[in-house]
């Protein structure tokens, strides 16, 4: 019991590890996907209408500032120890990150570029989808990466509201003073975060081939 990490325990629990890792990924992907679905229209609107950004950033900023454990504690009396509780919390943390980067990405498109597109007869909608959004992809993707990595970390806490994921091992280890389980949960969630980040970088390269062409100059 004094050993920091017992490999035999880990090997005995491979099925459990696979299960909780999958659970961890599901919880994360649902949260980031829902967060993006909410942030995308709000971010586009806020980039166009300056007055809207202030209140939007305030509300999402307040959500972001509430400590995760406190947010789960607020929600539990209402929505119980459920997936809903976990996801409401997780989604609300992605909003600030995603909206900020969507707005920054869209505003980063230079006025000249916009002018040129309008001069070529693009409509507002075409301007958005064919010019502004493609140019904003790197910044928006940076936001998605941060949201993903942050959420993977936060999902470890959702074990406290009765959800699965790698936090299950951490909690198990804490309750039984069993360092193997803690290390397992902690290390795997870091590996998951780094792997997700790398995959998103790869995905970004695939959807923005022009950026690579430019980089080769």
């Amino acid at each position: 019991m004094n050993e920091l990490f017992r490999w035999d325990w880990a090997i005995d629990h491979l099925d459990e590890i696979a299960l909780q890792t999958r659970e961890h990924l599901y919880l994360t992907l649902i949260a980031v996907a829902l967060g993006f679905l909410i942030s995308f229209p709000l971010g586009i609107y806020a980039a166009r209408h300056r007055w809207f950004y202030g209140p939007l950033a305030s509300v999402t900023g307040i959500l972001y500032t509430i400590p995760s454990l406190a947010l789960f504690a607020f929600l539990t009396p209402i929505t119980g120890l459920s997936v809903l509780t976990a996801e409401i919390g997780l989604v609300s943390y992605t909003l600030l990150i995603l909206i900020r980067n969507i707005v920054a990405g869209l505003r980063g498109v230079s006025g000249d570029t916009r002018e040129a597109a309008l001069g070529m007869g693009y409509s507002r909608r075409q301007l958005l989808w064919r010019v502004e959004l493609p140019l904003a992809v790197p910044v928006i993707m940076a936001g998605i990466r941060i949201a993903m990595v942050t959420t993977i970390g936060l999902v470890t806490v959702t074990a406290l509201v009765g959800q699965g994921g790698l936090g299950y091992f951490i909690l198990l280890g804490l309750n039984r003073s069993f360092s193997t389980a803690i290390l397992l949960g902690a290390v795997l969630s870091v590996v998951l975060a780094i792997a997700a980040d790398r995959l998103l970088i790869l995905a970004e390269r695939l959807i923005t081939p022009w950026a690579q062409a430019k980089a080769r100059h």
Partner: protein, 251 residues
């Protein structure tokens, strides 16, 4: 629900003790992290040496879940005979608080306008003088932003300290979860959230005051092409996105 909350506040006598534990734990951690993070950030940003350290710190700081650091501290602390309670949580929170301070200091010092640096050198300032009289004051708002990010994160994570016998306001929440006590859950959550907001707003005001003092601050132009960026966090209440300041850490 409200009735339970009120009753909890009436019945709970040790709130000041728990609050003090929380503040002391967070405060010492952020202070310690500043003592370590600031000089390293200044050194790296000024001399542009070992820049990978700042980038790695930023990336690692985000990738490693705070709950994981905190939990890991426990078995390690027992292993090395430091025991339970204050020390493992302090060390974990300290480690957690370093990255935002270090990277913001680095970015702030690095991104002071090149012309300004040139001008100060032209006036005959030595390297140390440029750092102390030009770079440091101009970087101050961003440095304080880093400390603020750190502090809010530490206050939030210190809540989890209750799980590793570290005390603080999280004690109520953890008890609430274990005993199914809604009053304790809500009361603890409210106190923690208020403390986080107070930290955010308080340090936000400091940042604003410093920003107002060093107007005329210009930062190098932001290039969306630096796609590999890891945006330095500026969790702000109602702040405009400042791509010039927040962005620009090449991964």
């Amino acid at each position: 629900m409200l009735a339970e909350l009120f009753e909890w506040f009436r019945e709970t006598g040790d709130i000041p003790t728990r609050l003090w534990e929380h503040v002391r734990l967070s405060g010492t951690s952020v202070l310690g992290a500043s003592v370590i993070g600031l000089p390293i950030g200044l050194y790296i940003g000024h001399l542009r040496r070992f820049e990978f350290v700042a980038v790695t710190a930023a990336n690692l700081g985000r990738a490693i879940p705070s709950f994981a650091i905190l939990s890991l501290a426990l078995p390690l602390s027992i292993q090395f005979g430091l025991g339970l309670g204050f020390w493992p949580t302090f060390v974990a929170l300290l480690l957690l608080a370093i990255p935002p301070i270090l990277t913001n200091t680095y970015v702030g010092v690095k991104e002071v306008d090149a012309d300004t640096i040139e001008a100060s050198r032209g006036m005959g300032m030595t390297g140390a003088q440029v750092l102390r009289r030009v770079r440091l004051p101009l970087a101050m708002p961003l440095i304080v932003a880093g400390i603020r990010t750190s502090a809010v994160q530490v206050v939030a994570t210190a809540t989890l300290a209750a799980l590793v016998a570290g005390g603080g306001l999280g004690t109520y929440i953890v008890f609430g979860f274990r005993a199914g006590d809604d009053g304790a859950l809500l009361g603890g959550a409210l106190l923690v959230a208020l403390l986080a907001f107070a930290t955010e707003l308080g340090l936000g005001l400091v940042e604003k005051a410093l920003g107002a003092r060093s107007t005329g601050m210009r930062r190098s132009k932001w290039r969306p092409g630096e796609s590999d960026l890891m945006v330095v966090e500026a969790r702000g209440l109602g702040r405009e996105p400042r791509p010039s300041g927040d962005a620009a850490l090449g991964g």
